[in-house]
Symmetry: D2
Subunit: 367 residues, 4 copies
């Protein structure tokens, strides 16, 4: 039914620019009117045509800049965080990695504290290396260690403090661009110091909720956000390891051959950890290449372990530990594993799915 051959989208109907038409256009301007016919090809493209571009930030660039910031820039009330936002080159100099997502490297020096605040924006941290910082979420101190995913969902007070003599860096992911663009954000300052400097191995949320398939009777009400403050690397690693072992045994377990993957979920619902951000972890066997796919919505990956490459919009780019890359909406991509290859991923997929804009195209599959 669709007329795919028509290529004059946004061009054909343009009327001749007569003086009368120019007068009409001036009247439009006076009355805050823009005609559809002059811009439809731009604002209603044939498929997503993101201004955001595929891009890779090398950890070998990011970490030294974060360290230098640690020397030159204090952390405290007002600026709130020593965070370096990754600015997509297509997005006009804003610190947006995609139109929806923010990704930053945050750096906290020895014994520093990032003060408490809360905001509507949903946030997480992922720890590519290091340890020694605790994030205090609504009074619950959560240890940050290598490979862990930590949540600070919208409107929870949170601060960070470094309990050691060594600095620590990690990545922050938030929905700041989405919140800013759609005018949904509230922000409140909390305590200038974190409210609890204890350094327990496990947070209270984990102790209550991190028992597989078990739900406390004191927590039968479903929650919008996951009550789990930290998803520990040991669990993630074991889950991925088991998937590959099951695959070795000929059992269905992986998402495609050689490709193990888990999604971090809210145990009260089985759904995404927060309403706007999906978090996943992927592991490829050495030599595996994933099928090429396109998806509506933006994804960000950080390499956690191993070496490999991403084919992103047709171009193959080498990846090392810590490297971060963004895949804008509908850009085709696949991953190639040189060694065993572990990657953390986050995306805006819950937005797309909840609003029914999601589409996926996988090469070789009928849609």
């Amino acid at each position: 039914m669709a007329n795919e051959s028509t290529e004059n989208h946004g061009k054909a109907m343009q009327p001749e620019e007569t003086p009368q038409l120019q007068a009409l256009y001036r009247a439009f301007d006076e009355h805050n009117i823009k005609p559809l016919w002059t811009q439809i090809g731009n604002i209603m493209p044939r498929h997503p045509a993101p201004k955001a571009v595929p891009h890779i930030w090398k950890w070998s660039d990011l970490l030294p800049l974060a360290e230098k910031s640690g020397e030159l820039v204090p952390v405290g009330r007002g600026g709130e965080r020593r965070a370096l936002g990754l600015a997509n080159p297509g997005l006009d100099g804003n610190a947006y990695i995609s139109p929806t997502l923010w990704c930053a490297i945050q750096y906290l020096g020895p014994h520093e504290t990032a003060p408490e605040h809360r905001h509507s924006q949903n946030a997480f941290r992922f720890v590519v290396e290091g340890e020694g910082v605790w994030t205090v979420v609504n009074g619950d101190p959560v240890r940050m260690s290598k490979g862990d995913l930590l949540l600070t969902p919208g409107w929870n007070f949170h601060g960070h403090h470094n309990n050691t003599d060594k600095p620590m860096a990690w990545i922050d992911g938030l929905d700041i661009p989405f919140s800013y663009q759609n005018d949904v954000g509230f922000f409140e300052f909390g305590s200038d110091r974190v409210t609890d400097y204890a350094t327990p191995a496990f947070s209270r949320g984990e102790r209550l909720w991190c028992h597989p398939g078990l739900r406390p009777l004191s927590g039968l009400q479903d929650t919008v956000n996951s009550p789990i403050g930290a998803y520990r690397w040991e669990h993630t690693d074991r889950a991925l390891t088991e998937q590959l072992l099951l695959e070795d045994e000929g059992q269905p377990a992986t998402v495609e051959q050689g490709h193990a993957a888990i999604r971090f979920v809210n145990p009260t619902t089985g759904g995404d950890v927060m309403p706007t951000i999906r978090c996943e972890f992927h592991r490829l066997r050495a030599g595996t290449e994933t099928r090429k796919r396109r998806e509506v919505g933006a994804s960000v990956f950080q390499v956690f372990q191993g070496k490999g490459a991403v084919v992103l919009g047709g171009e193959t780019r080498q990846l090392d530990v810590g490297d971060i890359f963004v895949i804008p909406s509908w850009v085709p991509w696949s991953l190639q594993a040189e060694t065993r290859f572990d990657l953390f991923r986050f995306s805006d997929a819950p937005i797309m799915e909840r609003l029914h804009f999601h589409r996926t195209h996988i090469e070789g599959e009928e849609k």
Copy 2:
């Protein structure tokens, strides 16, 4: 717990601009990095601080411009629609009435056809006056008459044709800005003429679905969008009339004293008609003033009948039939009815609710 007195948000932590810092900032630029501490006060405001502004478009301005467009601008493939988008003065000249919503007056001359296409963007039409056009949605011709709400949800082919010797104008509402901003849109051309020029009084969707509390056994699968193509004025009017009569009888029925209101819903779920757009109709008795409220997300009203005013961000503005106004996120507003006052409303509330960003503050109520 919050420290409301701190006013230095985004200011305090700024380090001194030493040569080293300037060098660091240059390195940031080279590596596509933006620090959070220089911009947090802007991108994470204390409460929604929309660039969009409250604004009113007078029907007495819009209609003549639409008529003039009818003389000067053809309608057809390429431009697709003779639609005048209302451009919020705060939004940089884009035809966005809010960051999420598009609102336009569309005009179709005698016996003209707006060709068929489909797109991911969800759309509706509301008819403030006139009749004689049929919208053909996936082959089902839907009559457009005064007071009717018509749906063309995402990815349904649709075109319009005027079956009479008189022009007709109406408003279109879509989620174009949201779709464009978040790179979710697909677009496909359909037939250059509409696929069915029949002019039935009622569409097939209505005949199957518009029986209160009854669901066809051939339609037991829930649908993302309402299967009802047109919500007729006679039903809307009767529902509002009954609410006020019930209020007269001392029964709970209205949303507040003197204020009847209905939401247009998907009969398969009881929820909003489409995943991104909420549609409602409000009726105030003469002399009624609604309670002042703020809401996260943007709303657009069009006056359908009667006279009154809106108090918008503290300023009282008179309203006549056909006038359209936008309430950006978190701007306080209330309505005042001089006569019996009927208003159509649409908003992005489903986005806010599905992503859990919604908040409402009603003056005099505890939150």
Copy 3:
């Protein structure tokens, strides 16, 4: 994988009845124990093996008995209702039409009142003929007229009064057997007279809720039961009529060729009117025969208009207006229409679906 040829279910493993075994069985009895192996074939049959049997009650039998009851049996507090329960011949003399459902003909003489009470059991009335009674549900008087379905969901006070000089009879459907069997029922007496003897044409629930696709803003909270007190025949009839007209036009609308059908639903959710009882209305064109089907769960039909037959467990039975028949679980059935044939149906399908026991087998379809 299944071993369909094994026919010794419940027989094979039986051990020899030695004195030791007899002693063991006596010990079982003493300790309130029953071994599985002696009874598995009975309590875990290969497919549903209902004790309930297919049965038809003729309206020409029921109505005179109801009239006779009207002469001999008063209606009032204690007995509560002059209702004749249809007792499935397979169910040991209990007034159960199926293990889950109760169906009765209720009779109210001129100017009689059936007093108010409430109970956990969900109930409805369907009016095969007559008029003049109002059911008062939580204070809201609901007119009962021919073809109407009325709801009195669990824990709503309700009474009936006959406002005329003529008697009226109708059928009641409830989940009494299910409630009794599973010990879930509460019961409370209300007013000895109904609380409101007004006789409005439409109940308040209808006036608020019976506008297709419209939801009052005062009723945005979803409800367990439908807020509609009466589903009027005029709507049911029109919905069925339109389905057949659409079929005539070659459009998908009916559930199978010549077979129009609607489900009565809760407008707040699109789901069944009450958590345990499904209500539907079916219309067959003259000459239509429905496909033979089996379903888990029990259904009851009452002929509303026309003549036809039901093929029930292989036996064809003629049906006249008012006749009521029950289809126990997994008994094959089909309907044959001699004239245009209208039937009201209710069933326990919501129980089966909510607990995931539902299965349907339609002759000629793969399962």
Copy 4:
């Protein structure tokens, strides 16, 4: 509004037994009719009046009888399981522990196999002592060890085999009475031997699903039943231990003072493990007494560790390890812990909640 003082429920309206009435009653019998007024007080009681009675089965009675059955009764195709059903003394000699639930002690001798079958009925096993048996569920061997809960949800093939030289006993819980009563059951024989005699420490389901908060990307479709085949005691114990430690630290974690409890859930939804059966584990500190409560629906407890008592319908009964007791609907109960007291619980609560019949009354709380 309710008239609580009326005590003539089911008595008042009874008409005088005249010859005419007797003739009418005979006519009712002939036509399979039962009047409501003669039986309403029985079938619609003021509150649940279960025929099932509170009862305790002593493990010290059950285990010897199971052992004796092991000597005298073979296990194999036909009888299927060497299971001793606990027959509630109020339920007419049926092996029903409640109108909805079946509970049995099952016994498997050294190197015996209970053959594979599948049925609509949902089932679980709980292991109060012992080890050495594997349950094979749809081909996945699941180790059974002390304290573990194992699921075999409806329509999954399953068999058991004892891999050791020692017998093993455990309890089975099913919804057999509910399924039988409501005619929903299907049954199919499978392999006479289990399909896989491997004895892995962990089942494939556990390896894929038992990672807290992590969901395999190969398992994103929600499932009716939990995909976890075994909930291990080590997790249950740790979850309960942490709740009591958190309580010691002054944190909210327990369901009431001194009372830790978890629910076993389906990780794809956070809801109950199966649609008809809820499983929980409770731990009381020594000296704790729970608040007295009544609930709609039946519960069964088995003591796992420690000593204590249950106050059941006003009577205090001592409990030892392995003892099983049933609480019929609406019977008041509380638990008393002499030592630390661990109890496994299962109930029909999902039936009650999904059909909206649930009610709970806790002494001292407003309802």
